[in-house]
Symmetry: C2
Subunit: 439 residues, 2 copies
């Protein structure tokens, strides 16, 4: 065990040990396919995907773990999300026993070879669930401050911000998985100084670095989820890129909020990282400074205040066509953290349902852009370039105010803590392609 | 034929003839169940529902009409919507032949009795499709003006209004069918003069009179629907009540738009009135006054300008507990029309998809509140009472600024034109019940 974190159990799947993302401590779920086969549920372990359907057919699970594995064997994880925490934990325990170094079934499993453990590089990953409703929050307080300053230098945060976990309904039909290209949207914009809008490709295309939250069992209409039970309704986490056309947004968003400026694309990472994997990385809510108002009682739970925040490192990288053609690696353009969330995930869940709105398995939340307070931790080009006024200078000499065709944005996330195996989210990639020609 | 509109073919289903809503000229589709049976598709004819599954099993349809009837036989109309106009028209033609006075199959059908033609009063009606995404527009220009005046007396319409069909994403999970009760939502509000919000039941609960639009085949991501093809993607129409908690809305809506103030409930009428039934009631766009800017080219189609608007009479009735206990009928509180729409349905479809956003069969649009210009034609209490300042006086002596528990709102719609059978939408009803107790 020397040199290994004390809480990091080893696996007989060699690539899992010391894997930066997918060690035995993580075991995120996703939906994959190979060679044009039907998509089905799987679990990431090292450089492999454990095929849950094959595992069920081989009789590897019993009881609640079997229920969970069967529910996760189809072409979406909705049924698995609906089962909630007990079944999810049972599956996790069973998988850790099967895949652990001391597994009694190791030889049987090894004999199954690739029929059980598919090489990840040969598989295609899919959006892990059918998204019923997608809600995008705005809980990154530095982002809210930074964007507010562009419009209201003296009064950046609106009066409701520290009371209401602000959110809005997003578009579910255009959620796609990491790797899908993003076509630059056409739309109406009001050029500077003009009194009439023009129509054409967005000139201010941006990304937003967000945490995605997959919803589990959910609630019936009219029956709010109390804050103390909110965690029971969170199925897992992913990375989310809320692509945004800032020029469309500026022209369209009054009075009802963002619409076409966001609805052309939202990218998510394919792996659903479970609350159990993130357990060691929970922390007290750090972003609410002393002197700020206490949350209203329906949003306040002592356990949530002390353990409801997450300590996940977030990263944004940019790979341009020029870098790609010279064989350069993607350049990091931001390093941030989920510790910048002003509201916890539990507060988001409870607020969303407090009016009686029903949440359903497979609903997706975005956190809103998670920028830090330093210039190196900003989660959008809007903030980095101060609304397009200060270009970002890249290491290869290129400059960017907003995204150009060919630019690829890569989001990453990792949890680190001394004595624990690191937990990675994998990647959320998306490359911008040219706008559709105009008819 | 004396005394009957010249274009109104008669049916051997006697209750259909001269029926104010469901004559042979209408034939709207819906999803119904009886005695706890599985929900399935049907067609309203007089006081009956034609059971499409029974009709298919009896071999009443052939070719495209059979395809359409089979697609509409399940527990939602999504597959039927996906087929588009040719199949929908084939089914309409087949139904008009089968149910017309001169039908050659009349005796066979009459022998089938209630197994084919269920008594509507003994059936339960359901939301007719699984709604993927729900979008609420804001195309009622008088409503936009009236609401704008409450906030900005000198400048009620924002500069984008006459260029952009303003809309926002709504909540799909809380769409319910006419007849479902609406629980008053709890939420945060900022009392007048206060600097901190309080939490409790909404005190300013309101309705909104809207036209609902069901989306048909739809488009692939990244492939906008040109204005000249937009009508191909409209499957039908309904009434829609966009219940709104004005006090929650005022506190939460900056900067991202309405959220919990709307997401607790949206009611729709159960019958999908087809574009074919509404064909005689198309008209030129009347609401865009001379001198207003022309639509940008992507939103302009000459045929749409000349025939793309709809002439549908809209009505709001209120039934209070006091009226109900005295056996009084519901009181009409507004009479309006779809001629108040500043943008056509085709313009809404094309605008929504112009950024590459994919529309899918079963997506639902709301038009936004359709108020007229007169005091008797206002589609919400917010407008009738001028933001709660001028109570509405009811005939029985009651007053309302906003809705009270027990109040029932009934929306109706009808098309009338000399020489044509009238086409009705049926009703969209919803009764307010008390807020959930606070934990």
């Amino acid at each position: 065990m020397t040199g290994h974190p004390q809480h990091a159990a080893r696996s007989w799947v060699e690539s899992a040990n010391d894997h930066p993302d997918f060690s035995l401590a993580n075991l995120p779920l996703g939906v994959f396919s190979r060679d044009g086969d039907e998509p089905r549920g799987g679990v990431a372990i090292g450089d492999r995907i454990l095929d849950l359907r094959a595992a069920c057919e081989a009789g590897l699970f019993l009881g609640q773990a079997l229920d969970a594995a069967q529910a996760a064997s189809g072409d979406s994880l909705n049924a698995f999300f609906a089962l909630g925490a007990p079944a999810r934990k049972a599956l996790r325990d069973a998988l850790q026993a099967l895949l652990g170094e001391g597994s009694t079934q190791r030889e049987q499993l090894q004999r199954m070879g690739e029929s059980l453990l598919q090489p990840m590089e040969r598989c295609r990953l899919h959006v892990p669930a059918r998204v019923g409703d997608y809600t995008d929050f705005y809980v990154g307080i530095h982002h809210a401050n930074n964007v507010g300053k562009l419009f209201r230098p003296d009064n950046p945060l609106l009066p409701n911000y520290k009371y209401v976990p602000i959110g809005y309904h997003g578009r579910a039909s255009t959620i796609d998985v990491s790797g899908a290209t993003v076509k630059r949207p056409n739309g109406q914009t009001l050029p500077p100084g003009a009194s009439e809008p023009t129509f054409g490709p967005s000139k201010r295309l941006d990304y937003e670095l967000e945490l995605g939250i997959w919803i589990g069992p959910g609630n019936s209409r009219g029956e709010p989820i109390p804050i103390g039970r909110a965690a029971d309704h969170v199925a897992g986490f992913c990375l989310l890129n809320d692509w945004s056309a800032r020029d469309l947004q500026a022209w369209e968003y009054q009075p009802l909020g963002p619409f076409l400026s966001k609805s052309f694309a939202t990218s998510v990472s394919p792996w659903v990282v479970t609350p159990e994997a993130l357990e060691p990385f929970r922390c007290a809510q750090p972003a609410r400074p002393e002197g700020d108002p206490q949350p209203l009682p329906y949003l306040y739970d002592q356990g949530d205040q002390q353990q409801g925040a997450l300590d996940i490192e977030l990263e944004v990288l940019l790979l341009t066509d020029a870098m790609r053609s010279k064989g350069l690696a993607a350049q990091r353009i931001a390093l941030s953290s989920t510790r910048t969330m002003y509201w916890t995930v539990a507060q988001m869940v409870t607020h969303h349902s407090v009016n009686g709105c029903s949440l359903q398995p497979g609903d997706l939340f975005g956190s809103g852009t998670l920028s830090g307070s330093s210039p190196e931790s900003l989660g959008s080009l809007l903030e980095i370039t101060q609304g397009g006024k200060q270009p970002l200078e890249l290491a290869n000499g290129e400059k960017r105010t907003f995204l150009e065709d060919g630019d690829e944005i890569i989001l990453k996330a990792r949890c680190r803590r001394d004595g624990y195996a690191s937990i990675g989210f994998g990647e959320c990639r998306g490359r911008v392609t040219a706008a559709a020609g105009m008819a």
